[in-house]
């Protein structure tokens, strides 16, 4: 046992590695240290620290930004599980601040108001890993090209309507299946159509999966919603407003954790769906005018 152990930090493997450890788990939005503790006690694998949950951002309007560092510090101090926090799309200085606060992951998120309508953050320039949203495979691959170490399908945050989450995870995984079925000489034009680098497109076609972990998000409000996302092929689930905007957050959080692990067992799903009190009220995405759809932020 005398071998040298030169340590390499922040390599793509190390950045993607934490997301690998979160698979099969639930990441919960929290706005206070108390909520973070409730999430941890319910079995969350990580928490997302933010100032307002998407349902409130939607209701109150205005510009949504990175959270106050005091709040993020308080949440980091209150739990032992990983803490993620959101930066605005393209806002690399918010990301620098979050890295300085030692969050475990940064979510470059369409839930906040974009800071740059052209460029996303150059995520290779950071030591901390990033998760980014995507509505389709091309978008996911562009984010990975920019350095994202984890992808989440966007869904439509703050609605409690799971239909957009379903659409986005089906689209991403369906496009991967279509790519895997293509002949080698068809991949050049596939890369053009996906607006993604050929090398990455070729890799996905060969392996039949993204090179990073793929979670789902945006509208998951019940244990059944979470289990459906897992059956559709997501690696795990983000739950935003669905928990702390519901009647009984403790019970609902624990039930969604149980459902995510036992996603293929309807008997367990029936059991954990009982007596959870009121789900978040919810907004039908079809009733949302286009300017209020968050998933269309980012490109």
């Amino acid at each position: 046992m005398t071998t040298d152990n030169q340590r390499s930090s922040s390599t793509p493997l190390v950045k993607r590695g934490l997301a690998e450890m979160l698979k099969g788990g639930v990441i919960m939005d929290v706005v206070t240290a108390d909520q973070a503790k409730i999430a941890e006690d319910a079995g969350a694998v990580a928490v997302m620290a933010l100032e307002r949950v998407p349902a409130d951002i939607r209701a109150q309007g205005g510009v949504a930004r990175m959270s106050d560092p005091d709040l993020i510090d308080a949440i980091i101090d209150s739990v032992s599980i990983p803490v993620m926090a959101k930066a605005r799309i393209g806002h690399f200085v918010e990301a620098q601040i979050l890295q300085s606060l030692k969050v475990d992951y940064i979510d470059e998120s369409e839930v906040l108001s974009p800071a740059d309508y052209v460029n996303h953050i150059d995520k290779w320039g950071f030591e901390v890993p990033f998760v980014c949203g995507a509505t389709n495979l091309g978008e996911a691959l562009r984010r990975i090209t920019e350095g994202a170490a984890m992808i989440r399908s966007k869904g439509e945050a703050g609605t409690g309507d799971v239909s957009e989450a379903t659409k986005h995870i089906r689209t991403i995984l369906g496009q991967i299946r279509a790519l895997a079925a293509k002949a080698d000489d068809e991949l050049f034009v596939a890369a053009k159509e996906l607006q993604a680098p050929y090398e990455l497109v070729k890799e996905v076609a060969k392996t039949g999966k993204l090179p990073v972990v793929l979670f789902t998000a945006g509208g998951v409000a019940t244990p059944a919603d979470a289990a459906m996302m897992m059956q559709l092929g997501a690696d795990g689930v983000f739950v935003g407003s669905g928990i702390f905007k519901s009647g009984n957050p403790e019970a609902r959080a624990a039930a969604i954790v149980k459902a995510t692990t036992n996603f293929d067992n309807p008997d367990v799903l029936a059991e954990v769906s009982r007596g959870l009190g009121e789900a978040m009220v919810g907004i039908n995405v079809a009733d949302l005018p286009a300017p209020h759809r968050l998933a269309e932020r980012g490109w």
Binding site: M1, M21, G43, P82
Partner: protein
């Protein structure tokens, strides 16, 4: 020899199954108690130790796994798995008690936040193996009955074995490193264990 089980409640269990597949070893996901029957050993993967422990209670696996470890079933934990096999956990959440069995004290997130995660080549017995440390724990204190099998040059204990129990802080499965698994498979062959409930 029966299949090797991989606890599949949460975490990177697929990577462990892939290493076993690559070595041609029969394997099985374990999510429910009846899936323990007939296994010759159990791998507890990386993930969140707090989450895996809670889910093991919910799915009725906590008591059977404890009993099987006590009965001599070979068991191998990586990262969260090491935490769950330690008799004493430092920096756990209130009431966190793992399966236990290893007479060691383990400190969670011992290197710091994700920014302090790293990959390195490290010793494992006489081999040098590739390893990823992701918000990894370390062994603070190991009793005499526990053999230290991996240590960083900076001194931290990151791998231990005590009889039928092997625990490491790192993830060979994330980097396609199979020699630690090969060692565990040899442990299972020697023990010739058949799990009964």
């Amino acid at each position: 020899m029966g299949p090797i089980g991989v606890l599949a409640l949460q975490g990177d269990f697929r990577e462990h199954l892939a290493i076993l597949d690559g070595l041609g070893i029969p394997n099985r996901k374990v999510k429910l108690p009846e899936e323990l029957i007939g296994i010759s050993g159990l791998i507890i993967p990386g993930g969140e130790s707090t989450t895996i422990e809670k889910l093991s209670h919910i799915n009725g696996l906590y008591a059977p796994i404890r009993e099987l470890i006590h009965a001599g079933m070979p068991v191998f934990g990586t990262c969260a798995g090491l935490i769950l096999l330690a008799n004493k956990i430092t920096d756990g959440i209130l009431g966190q008690v793992g399966f236990g069995g290893l007479d060691v004290e383990v400190k969670r997130n011992a290197f710091g936040s994700q920014l302090d995660s790293f990959e390195a080549k490290i010793p494992f017995f006489d081999y040098e193996v590739a390893a990823a440390f992701i918000r990894a724990p370390i062994v603070l204190e190991a009793r005499d009955s526990v053999e230290v099998v991996s240590r960083l040059v900076t001194g931290e204990i990151v791998g231990v074995q005590s009889g039928n129990i092997l625990g490491i802080s790192f993830h060979p499965e994330l980097v396609g490193e199979s020699r630690v698994h090969s060692y565990f498979i040899e442990m299972c062959k020697k023990a010739d264990f058949y799990a009964k409930l």
